[in-house]
Symmetry: C2
Subunit: 193 residues, 2 copies
Amino acid sequence: MTASGAPPTLRSDARRNVDRIRVAAAEVFRARGLSAPLEDVAVAAGVSKATIFNRFGGRIGLIDAVIDDLVAKELKGVIEQARAVPDVGERIRVYVGALRELQYRLPAVNGVLLRQFPDSGSLMDLCRTGEAFHGELVAQGHAAGILADGFTAHDLHALTIDNALALEHGGRPPRADYDRRTAFVLDGIRRPA
Amino acid sequence: MTASGAPPTLRSDARRNVDRIRVAAAEVFRARGLSAPLEDVAVAAGVSKATIFNRFGGRIGLIDAVIDDLVAKELKGVIEQARAVPDVGERIRVYVGALRELQYRLPAVNGVLLRQFPDSGSLMDLCRTGEAFHGELVAQGHAAGILADGFTAHDLHALTIDNALALEHGGRPPRADYDRRTAFVLDGIRRPA
DNA sequence: ATGAAGTTGACCACCCGGGTCAAGTTTCGT
DNA sequence: ACGAAACTTGACCCGGGTGGTCAACTTCAT
């Protein structure tokens, strides 16, 4: 049942503001993570903070409204990209590399991985999707015998979490350093030849 | 020249409080890191927060007063322990393992590695000591040809920093998981056979 | 033009920790 | 024992950041 108490259509100015806020939130969250001050989103949208509360109910509502275009598409893209790789070893390398690249490029994704807003259903769903794929990938890796003994899906997840924390609280290292370290990480989790 | 404006000796109650605060600070910092509320240190010492300011001037002074017994000894111990290992590969493994163990066991050490209080000279000195040893170790590792190509002292430092951030902001994983991941880290930075 | 929808700036509450100060308490020399 | 200096303390202020609210004003739609 649809809520019947609210008017079915918004007034034109309200609709315009909703759109502006969505766009602004996407920009601000993209660049500075999901914890960026709502005040800044409001300024970027050219509205007042109160309007965000009026239209979205708060940060969670706003995240739910933009997470799909912001993070879900990119993250799912990385997973699909990896799934398309036929060789298991290469698949794991592609996935870890692409995910780390995404974490570097899109701070918002770290908010998802870190479950920064457990009250956001869409965020938690997305996080679970990622985690499920980790399970899949690690199972395939062990089946093919190319992962280090004892390496678990949990370990893979911890890898991404630790990287998210490092980026979030430690800042981004130069890209070259970051990529080099990605290679060390990958070497550490594969079975020694 | 010694400051002549201040009385050379403290009154007995003041001396007692200084000792109590030092002990309490060591305990609290040890268990909860160098950012633990001074209020908590005061309570543990059975004095008021203001007394800490009277006696130590603030957090920095307090850190300077306890860092040696708290962290410096342990950290230098790890370095000496590693230096005593004859084989280079083993030396690196011992050092990384022992340092990670220390980071897990003693949150205060992470505050040092993260340079949480740049105004504390003793803290910064200690941090530099560690960094210098990293340089030494990596140079030896490359000379012996047992480190991965392109691995730098900076990378080793980043490894410890990232781990510090993960422990600080992500909490401690079960010990078994942590140790297993230590092994993956080590495998990732050594030259493939 | 009018009333409802919508917006807004200013405001409140909260939490947290660093830091300060007047007033009260303890020590110590005489 | 007593007075002054040393010392401690609770209560206070501050800044910084965030979620959230509301009366008054503006804009839209009919």
